[in-house]
Each structure stands twice: as structure tokens, then as C-alpha cells.
Symmetry: C2
Subunit: 400 residues, 2 copies
Amino acid sequence: MHVSSFQPPPRTLMGPGPADVHPRVTAALARPTIGHLDPAFGAMMEELKGLLRYAFRTDNPLTMPVSAPGSAGMECCFVNLVEPGDKVIVCINGVFGSRMRENVLRAGGEAVVVEDDWGRAVDPQKLADALVAHPDAKLVACVHAETSTGACSDVKTLVELAHRHGCLAIVDAVTSLGGSPLEVDAWGIDAVYSGSQKCLSCTPGLAPVSFSERALTKITARSTPVQSWFLDLNLVLGYWQGASGSGKRAYHHTAPVNALYALHESLVMLAEEGIERAWARHRRNHLALRAGLTALGLELVVPEAERLPQLNAVAVPGGIDEAAVRARLLETYSLEIGAGLGALAGKVWRIGLMGWSSRAENILLCLGALGSVLADMGHAADTGAALHAAQAELGAGRGH
Amino acid sequence: MHVSSFQPPPRTLMGPGPADVHPRVTAALARPTIGHLDPAFGAMMEELKGLLRYAFRTDNPLTMPVSAPGSAGMECCFVNLVEPGDKVIVCINGVFGSRMRENVLRAGGEAVVVEDDWGRAVDPQKLADALVAHPDAKLVACVHAETSTGACSDVKTLVELAHRHGCLAIVDAVTSLGGSPLEVDAWGIDAVYSGSQKCLSCTPGLAPVSFSERALTKITARSTPVQSWFLDLNLVLGYWQGASGSGKRAYHHTAPVNALYALHESLVMLAEEGIERAWARHRRNHLALRAGLTALGLELVVPEAERLPQLNAVAVPGGIDEAAVRARLLETYSLEIGAGLGALAGKVWRIGLMGWSSRAENILLCLGALGSVLADMGHAADTGAALHAAQAELGAGRGH
């Protein structure tokens, strides 16, 4: 075997995640590995749980990162909360709602689907109707920030509806955590999962989760074992919380030590900025990007009231080969933007302004590069005007 | 929230894993994050698969890292290969065999247990008897290197027996990969999983796996869906191998980009050393540690012919508080050694010489520190003699 060390090309990451990772976070990642049962590591774990509670806006004791990517965080919620035969109403308005349905089925549950168009928020009325039609439903599942489309749903209202009908609510907050208002306690969310590589701007590979007391009660009252050993919260808790009363951590699996250093650092940075200020920054930068895109003659596919600031789905203009544009951006400017997924494949680009990617210089690079490439491909685009529009918006935002 | 950046205390890791991580690996970990669908990342993934084939000694096309710790690698093997009702013979001689049984049950299988004493290898005759008694068994599962005891089982013979009776063989190689001879193809292993943080000396969080053609045939012929969406190889393959024929990688989950850089680097280092030379180094250093432990009046619990070189279970001398010894080693010398697990809890220490931890200076530190602490606690230990014995063995090993 003759393989050399891998030297990744430095990129600017403005796709749907991973986002740019701050040097402080990669520096944390590279610190010396210590044992997963080391007392010093245990102290770090406690801080990490507190920082996650801060980010999720919750006091839930059961708040921690799952040692695997966001998709495993999703699976953790479903395999613990769904028992065979449980009826679950799943709101689908993009790829990740469909994935939730798949998780319900694989956990032995029955899925009732409430569908909305891709690029739109979930319609609360449809959920209300489904809850009336299915009084035996046990759970409602919905996606807060649909990463595949850039639509933001009114989770507060959806959770209220679920509770009114005696259901627990599972919420996908992969793309919302740290980027736009998410209030786990104030909204009464029972189970929520996220990912490290979106608005937390950490490296990919961890899935923060949080569970309410109600959710924990359902989990501990299960009559069947959780089908996944790795994701069984009854076992994971022994490590993250220690055996009840004893304060002693029980070995479950070997925690991804260095990845947890990185998540800790990214959350320290979030706390330093202040989460409301982080939300405001994502919003301000979104407005600047939008002003520039508009000046380029490009349109966002999600209606304004339902738009996420951190993920912007842009309609590909007619006659433009969307994949060729992305390839040019990557080759010429080392800039990554995302393709469409599922029903939006080939129709949109997804421009992420997540975490540390959400900053002024990235917006100008993206508009400048996209405008130039589109102009070169024959699309009438005034790149200078786009940059000025964005800059004006950034200046106005700073004034607040 | 006021939490500071976490600065882990530098440790010498001589427990059951994680092992010491080489600075080249942490440097790789901290390289810039790029997208999980970036062409440059795809090229790295191909190299990584090749490097894993080298380490596993296999040509299996289906060889890759699962994006989660070793326990998830175990679960990946079981949920893909076990269908509800399948009878699986599980050889148990420690913690990880028991965990395999748990995985069989949670996948809906029926587990037939073949038990051996903790600290001993699996007895092939017991497996042969079980295969005769259960002609309807579909799978045999066994642990190559029992991390909880330090015993090495004769996997070549166990797999031969399984095949003779028409069973596929699942092997746990978490602690053996890279540290002692493991021949996936020559031994005919059908499914094998490992961990990044043992003899590969990478950070924890990834689980290399490899599946034979026979295993893949069973997986693709399943009549029931794999219960885990995250670990369903039919889906994971679309990302790691590309949709059949198209060569295009399909999004499944966001790969843990930086962790994969680190695994790549640790495998590049293994290939540079040469795997046979790595095995020989683990063996040589084990003999040196053993010579020193003997001089300290300490005994290894596993019979010589069944001992792993990379994990040494040492009997705690009578009258010694084993936890106090470990605490002293950690506090005074920043040295981690492992406690016993399960049936061996309180009775042994587990001293790891895995990957980059398996080097001369670690052996001398461990013997010097352990000897001094034991002497201080009243155990008659001649630390100087132990160091000389180890050094003599290291010198003799170098002469070969």
C-alpha cells in the first residue's frame, strides 16, 4: 500500500452543511485524546450538557450528544419513543419528513402522513385534522427547519396541537439549532435532535438530543426493549448521567472523545456570542444575501414568511445547467453550495449561511462568484449591483 | 453561560482504549472540513477503503468505516445479517460476547449461547457440539480479541466450523485489528467489525467493517427491511460505493469528515510500518511488559497460549485496592490503565499496549509507576528489576 497523507483543499462551505468550522473548533478537535472514563473528561461532559441545554433553551436533564451523525439522532428519538403498533402522525414537507416516516415504520410503528408541498411550511390545519381523524395517535413528528427546502415550520403551534390531543411531539432541529429561534421548553417539545455540523459550526458526526420528562416517562415505561442497543437511552444514560444515585458513569460505548472536545468548543463560542445575537446574525446575513440574489435576478423558492435565514433555496434560472454552475464555483473559487434534493433536485441551489459560514465575507464571495459564473454562462446578472445591495443591507444591519 | 474552552490533561493511555493518538493523526483531524460530497473527499474515501482492505487482509469490496463507534459497528453487522427468527450461535467468553447476544435478540433472532470462562479462549469443541445440536443455525458470532479479558480466540478454526455447518461467521475484531494477526479472507470471515481507537491508534468514533460476498448475498436477499435506517447497508452503500453502475455517490447521512481524515492518516501510518511489522512490534512489547510484570510479582490471568499481546489482564495482588492504584497512577503520573469489567471487575487491571501506545517508553513508564505505587502500598515489588527485565526483552527483540 502506498497512499499519502490526505490534504483537503481549503473550501468555503455554503451548502446545506457541513458549514465552515472555526479554527478554534479544529484546534479543540486536535487536543490530546484522554480516556472516556477519565474524571477530567467527565467534568467536560457535564459542561457540554449544560451548554447544550443553553443552546436548546431547555432545562431537560436528559440533554446530550448522540455519538453519531444527525440521522442517528433522529433514529435515537424514534426507536426510543415508538413502540410496535404506536400510531405516529408524521408531517412531511421535504426529505427529512420522509426519513422520519421511514424511521417510524422500521421501529414497528404505524405512520399517518400529513403532506405539504416541498418548499412550504407544514400547515397546522392539516395536522389538526389528522389528530381529529386519528384519536389513537401517540406521537406527532415534524421538521422545524427542512434542510432540503429551506422552509421553517411553526413548531410552537404544531406541538400545542399535538399536546391538545394527548400526543408527544418529536422535532427535527438539525438545521435550526443555533441559527434561528428554537425554544424547546417554551414550546413544550418532547424530543428534539440536531446535528453538530450546521449552525453550531462544529465538525460533522454528533447529534445533540434532548428529551422532556414526559418523553422519559414513556421510554422507561416501554413494554418492549428498544430495538437498538447502541441508541437505547436506558443504557446510554448510564454513561452520560451515571447510574442513578451513584454518580458513577457506566461504560456503554467508547465516546468519540475528540469530537466532543470540538462540540464543547463550538458551544462555548455560541455562549460567548449569545444565542439571541447568533439568531440575529443569521437573520441579518440572510437579508444581505437575499438582497444580492434579488439584484442578480434570482428568486428564493420559499415564501418570505416561511423562510429559514440559514438555508436559502434559490430557483435555478431557465437554461442554466445547475450542476455546471456548482462545479465551476468549486473549481474556480473553492466555494461549495448545495444541490437540490428529492423533488427539488435540479431545480434549486441550496445556499447555506450556517454558523461560522454566516459572515459578511462569505456573502460577498458567494454573490461575486455566482454572479460572475452566471454572467459567463449567458445569464444577465449585474454582479456589482448585487454586491452593493448586500453591502447596503449589512451596513443597515450593523446600525441596529 | 460562562464556560471556558476545555484543555484536556495530557495522558499516557494504557487502558483498553482509546490508545495514545500519534500527533500525525491529530494533525490530520484538524485539517479544514470539506463537504461530504466533495470530489476531493470522494477520492479520500476510495483510498480509505483500500487502506482498510489492507489492514483487514481482504479484497472484500464492501469494506468501509461505519460513522459511529465500534458498538455501532457490531450493531451494523447484526441488524443487517440477522432476520427475525434466525438462529445465531453466540460464543461468549467476556463482555463483548454478551453484547453480541443482546444484539441478536434485539434484531429478533434466537440466540444459542456457547459459554467459556472469562479469561479463556472460546473452546472450538463447544461450538462444534452446538452446531451439531442446532442444524438450523444460520450464523455463528464470536469475539477474536476479548477486550474485557485479554483472551484471543482461534477465529480461523471457529469460522471453519461455522462454514462446515452452513453458517456465516460474524467476528468482533475491535481490539485485534492492527495489533495481532487477523486474516479476513484467509480465514473466510463473513462479517467483521472493529474500532478506530484501539490498535489503529486513531481517535474513537469510527467502526471499520468488512463483509464477504456471501454476507452481501444474505443482506440483499432479506425478506424484511433492516430495522435500523442509519445502519442499513443497502442505503449506506449508495454513499460509500455509489449507486450501482452510476459511480455517483448518493447522500445518506453526513459523513464525519474530519474523523475520516484521522482514520485515513492512522492507516497510512500502519501501511508505512507494514502490518506484519506492527503485529511483531505488539508482540515484542508485550513480552517486555510481561517480563517486567513478572519481576514485579504480578500475574497475567490469561493462559500464555491464549494471550493477546495488546491487552494484558493483570491479577490484582491480594490486599491491594485496585481502584486506589489506578487513581494514583492517573494523579501522579497522568497514566491511565484500565479496570476490570463484568466478572473481572475489581480483580484485574487491563494494561493496553495498542497502536502508538505500544512503545518502549510507555512500557518503562508503566512498570516504573506501577512498581513504585505498589511498593508504596506495601506490596513487595522490585521496580528496578522490573525495568531491567523489560529492557533486556526489548533489547533481545531488537536483535531479531
